[in-house]
Symmetry: C2
Subunit: 193 residues, 2 copies
């Protein structure tokens, strides 16, 4: 197996475990075991656990782009429906995992955001990329009269993404779809109206 594919294997195996267990709570040996990669090879691929964590953020972001952000850029004519599809797809992913996982980026933010400057800077950019995409969609929805004309689309995008992260957090302790349904109801039924 070449160097890149072993590295990818480690990151892929880690992504699932860390999304469920947390970054600090997951040991390197556990990741290597799950990836079926020899013990001790971790530091051949990553300088440190932090260095590895920063690459993991890129991996998660790539995953979110493939699975979710594509809905914001789809050929669907209604800009508002594109946003709906984005959150519905995100909800389906949570349902698949029995409402236990939450957002991989949000989880890392909660664990490392207040602590580690390299993570904080990287996660900040990642969130901003996401809200820019949502903001663009809202800007177009506003131009076509689908949402409240008085809203600032980018401020609203920030509020919406933050509220979604909070709904995911609550979902984890409720182990239920209710906080996500409550989010959709309030955002689409009230905030954007």
């Amino acid at each position: 197996m070449n160097k890149e594919s072993t590295k990818d294997k480690i990151i892929e195996a880690a992504a699932t475990i860390i999304n469920e267990k947390g970054f600090n709570n997951t040991g390197i040996q556990e990741i290597l075991r799950a990836a079926d990669v020899p013990k001790g090879s971790f530091y051949f691929y990553f300088r440190s656990k932090e260095d590895f964590g920063l690459e993991l953020v890129d991996y998660y972001m790539h995953f979110l782009k493939e699975k979710l952000v594509k809905h914001l850029k789809s050929s669907e004519r209604s800009h508002l429906n594109r946003l709906r599809n984005f959150f519905n797809a995100a909800l389906e992913i949570q349902k698949e995992h029995q409402f236990r996982r939450g957002c991989p980026i949000g989880n890392l933010a909660q664990e490392t955001g207040g602590l580690n400057q390299a993570f904080q800077a990287k996660l900040k950019i990642t969130f901003n990329r996401m809200t820019t995409e949502i903001g663009r969609c809202l800007e177009l929805a506003q131009k076509s009269g689908e949402i409240d004309a008085s809203l600032d689309p980018y401020e609203t995008a920030d509020f919406i993404l933050n509220s979604w992260e909070g709904a995911l957090l609550r979902m984890k302790v409720e182990r239920s779809i209710d906080p996500l349904i409550g989010f959709e109801k309030m955002i689409f039924g009230k905030v954007l109206k």
Copy 2:
């Protein structure tokens, strides 16, 4: 020093460290050192780190009641202003700690909610207590015509608390007051109107 006060000392010292560093990321020795309590005495007071964590949730909840929930029950005549005062007081606490800490309950929920059933059950109750208090305040605000009559006060309370938790999460990576200001603007300027 008697048994209770040593135990309190351990929990108080831990509360600050864990609020900033996370539960899994904080070692028992580190807590004992900060509490200035002899090494090895931890298991005299707590059966396990989990058992200790569950007592910590009670401690945090007590703190939130003293510092924040009191505003929801104050003698201030406007019910809506009571809710504003609650979130303003919460914002001031975050400002004091340079926007690094977030909500101690939310942090624990993110870290342990998807994983540990005892934490999940306890945190679920804790969140529900909080939203019941907010919901009551909204119900009264609605009766006195201060907020939108069409809202369900308890569903809205859930949405508001979840959105606040999300705003705190984003605050940690932004290291800025902006997500909290954005939250207040949208909740009081749009959601409740």
